[in-house]
């Protein structure tokens, strides 16, 4: 998309240097560090001794069986679920030591897209996107409208979607509108909970491309809970796998395929996984 932009008539931008891929930050720059995390609901322990690092500028895909606590982990990092033990550091700061004001400032740098979109049903799409901007930024009404349109455009929604209410949108459009709202404040980290669930394969592939493009243009770090094998193969830089109440493996696809863990073998060695796998990995999986 960026290349297309540069070839358009009335080129908007001239670089003073030869273009290189937008490398976002140095390698090994950890933005979220989770250590020895334990989460329990009453007697039921969901996670115990979980460690996880999310690097700056990467798309981390997170997999795990149903009910293994992928969403709970996301919600714990976001502070929506209380943890029983352990530390969570975001941008090098332990979230437990932050004051309420600091915590609010930190949350501004998160963008969250919930599984069902969680768009406010009483507001139009445009008002949904503008809500965080109104709350946190001091924009003139004209600029507020313009910025909502910019975000809509970024996520590939047509301008006439702006005045629709969420109930008038299709599943794919709801996902895009929810992403537009997540991007409203130009966050550094975006959490996506099953972004492609409920989309047809074409819509899902478009969404994956969109996330990769946005990561490159906006320098996002993306934490994505997903079950979509195509997303894992095409969009994610690294994959984390949750089983047995902890992260059993983290790394690129090759690491997953090389793992001996029975759940990972079943997940990536299954018929569905092999059929969709990029050819260069296929022999690993056998």
């Amino acid at each position: 998309m960026s290349e297309q932009g540069n070839h358009q008539a009335g080129q908007p931008f001239r670089s003073l240097e030869a273009p290189r891929p937008a490398a976002a930050g140095a390698e090994g720059d950890v933005v979220i560090r989770v250590r020895d995390l334990k989460v329990a609901f009453g007697e039921k322990v969901i996670m115990d001794g979980l460690d996880l690092d999310v690097m700056r500028g990467e798309i981390l895909g997170f997999v795990g069986g149903s009910g293994q606590g992928k969403s709970v982990l996301t919600r714990t990092i976001l502070g929506l679920v209380q943890k029983a033990r352990g530390t969570i550091e975001v941008f090098g700061e332990d979230v437990d030591t932050l004051s309420t004001v600091q915590r609010r400032a930190l949350e501004r740098r998160f963008g969250v897209m919930f599984q069902q979109g969680a768009l406010f049903s009483a507001l139009s799409v445009k008002q949904n996107i503008q809500l965080p901007m109104r709350e946190y930024l001091d924009l003139s009404p004209a600029l507020l409208d313009d910025m909502a349109m910019v975000k809509l455009d970024l996520v590939g929604l047509p301008p006439d979607a702006a005045d629709k209410s969420p109930s008038e949108l299709s599943g794919g459009m709801i996902k895009r509108a929810a992403l537009a709202r997540a991007l409203a404040l130009d966050p550094d980290i975006v959490f996506l909970d099953e972004p492609t669930s409920g989309l047809d394969p074409i819509g899902a592939a478009e969404f994956d491309d969109l996330i990769v493009t946005l990561k490159q243009t906006l320098g996002l770090t993306v934490f994505m809970v997903t079950h979509d094998l195509d997303s894992l193969y095409s969009a994610c830089d690294r994959i984390g796998a949750l089983a047995d109440k902890r992260v059993i493996a983290v790394g690129p696809l090759a690491t997953m395929l090389a793992s001996d863990h029975p759940w990972l073998k079943a997940y990536f060695g299954g018929e569905r996984a092999r059929a969709r796998m990029p050819s260069e990995h296929r022999e690993h999986a056998v």
């Binding site: 931008f13 001239r14 049903s121 901007m133 001091d138 910025m147 975000k151 550094d188 243009t217």
Partner: protein, 381 residues
Amino acid sequence: MAIPDTAEPQAVFRDDAGTLAVMLAGSWSADRAPRIEALAREIGERVGQSSHARLDLSAVERLDTLGAYVLNRVKHDRESEGAAVEIVSKRPEHGVLLAEIEIHEREQPVSSRQFRIVDILVRIGAAVVRFGRDMVAGSMFLGEVVVASASVVLGPRKFRGPSMVNQIELIAFNGAPIIMLISFLVGCIVAQQGIFQLQQFGATAFVVNLTGILILRELAVLLTSIMIAGRSGSAITAEIGSMKMREEIDALRVMGLDPIEVLVVPRILALVVSLPILTFISAMSGLTGAALVSWLYGGIGIDTFLARLQSVITWKHFFVGLVKAPFMAFVIGLIASMEGLAVKGSAESLGRQVTASVVKAIFMVIVVDALFAMFFSSIAM
């Protein structure tokens, strides 16, 4: 892009051999929107005065979508006026971002508030049409319910006894205490007001006629119907509506079951059975309240009250009140089920229909009561 920095956005203007060079610096991000907007206006004006301009972003520390948009907007607006504007930077990520943000023409907001009177007339007209459609839809639904009820009568195996008994428990048994309480209180209030007014004529004893006839003919059935419309009508709408929302109604249909037969008929029957029972309970509580107040305030002993009640109240007052109850129940059940089935996919639609169900049911209860009043007076009851 780590920690939001504190650098103010800045623009330095310099004339570079006929080209206006604008050196931008600082943080061009959404946190500094007012300053950025002011700067953009200034840049726009300065660029407008010269035909060539170059915006140099090399010293910009942070650029987000808002900064990129504002700069693109300046370029776009000035270029449409014929100026040549160029945006340059040493940072490739700026280029990627600037290329991604497109400018759309601003639409002029259309002012729609010109003909206020016409607007009001349009809304009144729309409301009348809607009311007419509601009536048509209501009578069609009534027809469906009658057909479904007939098929239940013809094939008693289709009758859903357990479902109806369950509904009767929810409507009559669980609803009885609150109806007893408010009827008792309203009986007290009516008796007390009656005593104070009738005292002026020395006719305190007529409070028995007043409360007896009022409660038995009108108050008991109206209070009960309005309470049931609010309590059980809303519950029925919400229950059927949430089933509609989750496609459970469609699931019934594809199984070959008629939702009206399965869901609506048992509920309406339960209401038709429950409402007369509750009306009777309500009348008795109301009379108890009236008797108590007559004794405490009016000095009319309970035995006197009962004796007088027996002499003034004939069976027809009792009958007039009670005979209305099943009709009220039918109207409430019909409206509640119809509104429930009219729910669309969203939760706010459910809320809207529940409100509509209660409002319409209470309105229709009062209309039906007025029709009965006309009917009974014309047959001299």
